[in-house]
């Protein structure tokens, strides 16, 4: 009995030892910062005259009362709602096309992938050149057809839309690579078996290819979702969130609060809200979506 107990003790020590590297890293760089952020979101902003003090959920109430917060949140929802599905659909179509037997296949793959290797800042500068009123590429093309000059980034109606287009352009090629890899794992003879039955191309894609790509789609979905919160580099170059907050996204808003207005507590509160939202989505992914996905 005693020996058994000793052995299980020993095993648990091994267990903890094996766990410790990941635990230490995660604690230092993920758990602790999250907790610290949460903690600081409960305090007021300290100034020289008024030191920081515990104010409970006041920072959150402030945010909910702030129309800018709601504007930014709406922007981000539109941004996510547009970039995620559109980039996935484009990536999938490109992958299906680039996977078929077409001439210059590797050239097409490379061409699609190029935006991905470009740093976001460089991509943004490129698109700045496209969007610039007057001599930008879009306006030049428009003027050929007699269309008036449009200030794509400079007016509230089109600014967010223009940002969305850049993001999709940047993401779709990256996601296509994953789809291409997944398509290549689908055995050729499944298509042949379907051909024998006289399956149409569309039916085969819908009933066989798409379900088999589901794990990849899920992975891409999560990535696209993370990007829709995280990818704001181009805002710095293109619009700086303007005009009139029309293209401001949550992370940019947080950055602005923390490092332009030095309002760390409110920035912390917003961060916590974003974390909570992502946490809920992760929960949905692991419980509902994973069960409905076929993993090979």
């Amino acid at each position: 009995m005693l020996r058994l107990k000793k052995m299980s003790q020993r095993q648990s020590i091994y267990g903890w030892l094996l766990l410790s590297p990941a635990m230490i890293l995660l604690t230092t760089f993920a758990f602790y910062p999250s907790m610290a952020t949460f903690w600081s979101s409960l305090f007021s902003r300290g100034t020289r005259r008024k030191p920081s003090k515990f104010i409970g959920t006041d920072n959150y109430t402030d945010l909910f009362a702030d129309p800018t917060f709601w504007k930014v949140l709406t922007n981000n929802l539109i941004y996510a709602g547009a970039t995620i599905p559109i980039s996935i659909v484009i990536a999938l179509s490109m992958a299906l096309w680039a996977n078929s037997k077409i001439p210059a296949r590797s050239f097409i793959r490379t061409a699609y992938f190029t935006p991905t290797v470009l740093p976001m800042i460089a991509a943004a500068n490129l698109w700045l050149f496209f969007y610039t009123p007057g001599f930008g590429v879009l306006d030049q093309i428009g003027s050929l057809f007699g269309l008036p000059s449009v200030n794509w980034l400079g007016q509230p109606e089109t600014a967010l839309f223009s940002i969305i287009v850049v993001t999709i352009w940047k993401e779709a090629g990256f996601f296509m690579i994953f789809y291409l890899a997944a398509l290549q794992t689908i055995p050729e003879d499944l298509k042949e078996a379907a051909d024998i039955e006289g399956t149409s191309r569309w039916y085969y894609t819908r009933r066989i290819v798409l379900p088999l790509l589901m794990p990849t789609t899920l992975f891409i979905l999560v990535n696209a979702l993370i990007n829709s919160v995280k990818l704001i580099d181009h805002l710095f170059i293109l619009t700086k969130g303007g005009p009139n907050d029309a293209s401001k996204l949550l992370l940019y808003y947080i950055w602005e609060m923390a490092f332009a207005f030095f309002d760390a507590p409110h920035a912390a509160a917003t961060t916590i809200l974003v974390l909570a939202a992502l946490g809920i989505i992760a929960g949905i992914k692991f419980t509902i979506l994973d069960k409905r996905t076929h993993y090979q």
Binding site: D189, L190, E192, I196, E197, T199, S200, L212, Q296
Partner: protein, 337 residues
């Protein structure tokens, strides 16, 4: 053999100048079991794929049931196919896999259910309807592939090495099942295999191929007793036919090669044998022992002896045989007379 259910006329398939298959002509009546046999790379699978329509022939005509299907897609050839890898859809259940084709052809739900049940009964898969392929054993997956082929109720079924992923024991029983199935359903089966036992035991017609060409077409007996050439003689039978140079045999000097099956060899008393050989190996198989013999102008000489035999290597052994059991081949390896 007068009725030609499947008629393949002089088809060829070449890949970038490389040989696929060449000059393939083959016809057989309805209800026959045809085995395409040969070593790997001989073009048997290619022939099957040409027949199925998964590959297009570069030349020649394929007729099924009197209809020219050479340029038709697989779905218009009224055939079903069992793949070597089974090609089951991994995300679909057994039931969905089996009725996939029926769904594609929009068969009414009631009929679909009836056909499904029948196919599952025939293949002994009742109770597994809702499993996915990953939850089945190799043999069960194989039966799902069979069920999928049966359910379509097509007169012609093509099988591409359907047993090669099964272990030896299972292969034996599934072999019998497939043969029984073919007879009961009255379908025509074209079966690709590299295993001569499979071909010889199941098929009515064996087509032996090598390097993209047909070497011999005929019943298993014909291939065994009347091999067209040395390749056929050496491929069919276990152990294969022994080939002796004609000049080593008194009275047969005019033939380039002479063949003899191991069962026709007998051990002769000293001084009475027609060939003096050296024992090179003994292979004990239970009821008998194969004794490998070496002779400077012969290859593949094996004699079978009952029970356990332990003969020392290098021992001289004289063998004899009857003239009527000999097969004669010319310089090109083709059968003469």
């Amino acid at each position: 053999m007068s009725e030609k259910f499947v008629d393949i006329n002089n088809i060829a398939k070449r890949w970038n100048g490389q040989l696929g298959v060449e000059d393939i002509s083959l016809s057989f009546p309805k209800g026959s079991f045809v085995a395409l046999l040969g070593p790997s790379g001989c073009g048997k699978s290619t022939t099957l794929r040409l027949l199925s329509g998964l590959e297009q022939a570069d030349q020649g005509i394929i007729k099924i049931n009197g209809v020219d299907v050479t340029d038709k897609p697989p779905s218009e050839r009224n055939l079903s196919m069992v793949f070597q890898s089974y090609a089951l859809f991994p995300h679909l259940t057994v039931k969905e896999n089996v009725i996939f084709g029926l769904k594609v052809r929009k068969t009414p739900i009631k009929e679909r259910q009836e056909k499904l049940l029948r196919a599952l009964e025939i293949t002994g898969l009742v109770g597994f309807e809702n499993r996915k392929p990953a939850e089945l054993s190799g043999g069960q997956r194989q039966r799902v592939a069979l069920a999928r082929a049966i359910v379509a109720n097509q007169p012609l079924c093509l099988m591409d090495e359907p047993l090669s992923n099964l272990d030896a024991k299972l292969r034996n029983s599934v072999r019998k099942d497939i043969k029984k199935l073919q007879v009961n359903l009255g379908i025509t089966v074209v079966y690709v295999t590299h295993d001569q036992t499979e071909a010889m035991s199941m098929a009515d017609i064996v087509v032996l191929m090598k390097d993209g060409r047909i070497q011999q077409t005929g019943s298993p007996e014909e291939l065994y007793y009347k091999p067209n050439n040395i390749f056929v003689a050496e491929f069919i039978g276990s152990p294969p036919m022994a080939i002796i140079e004609g000049k080593a045999l008194k009275g047969f000097e005019k033939y380039s090669s002479v063949g003899i099956r191991s069962e026709n060899l007998t051990v002769a008393k000293k001084g009475k044998g027609r060939l003096i050989c050296e024992v090179s190996e003994c292979e004990f198989l239970g009821s008998e022992t194969f004794i490998g013999l070496s002779h400077p102008s012969a290859k593949g000489l094996t004699i079978s002896m009952p029970g356990v035999q332990n003969i020392d290597q290098g021992k001289k052994l004289e063998i004899s045989f009857a003239n009527e059991d000999l097969h004669f081949f010319d310089v090109n390896g083709d059968r003469t007379s």
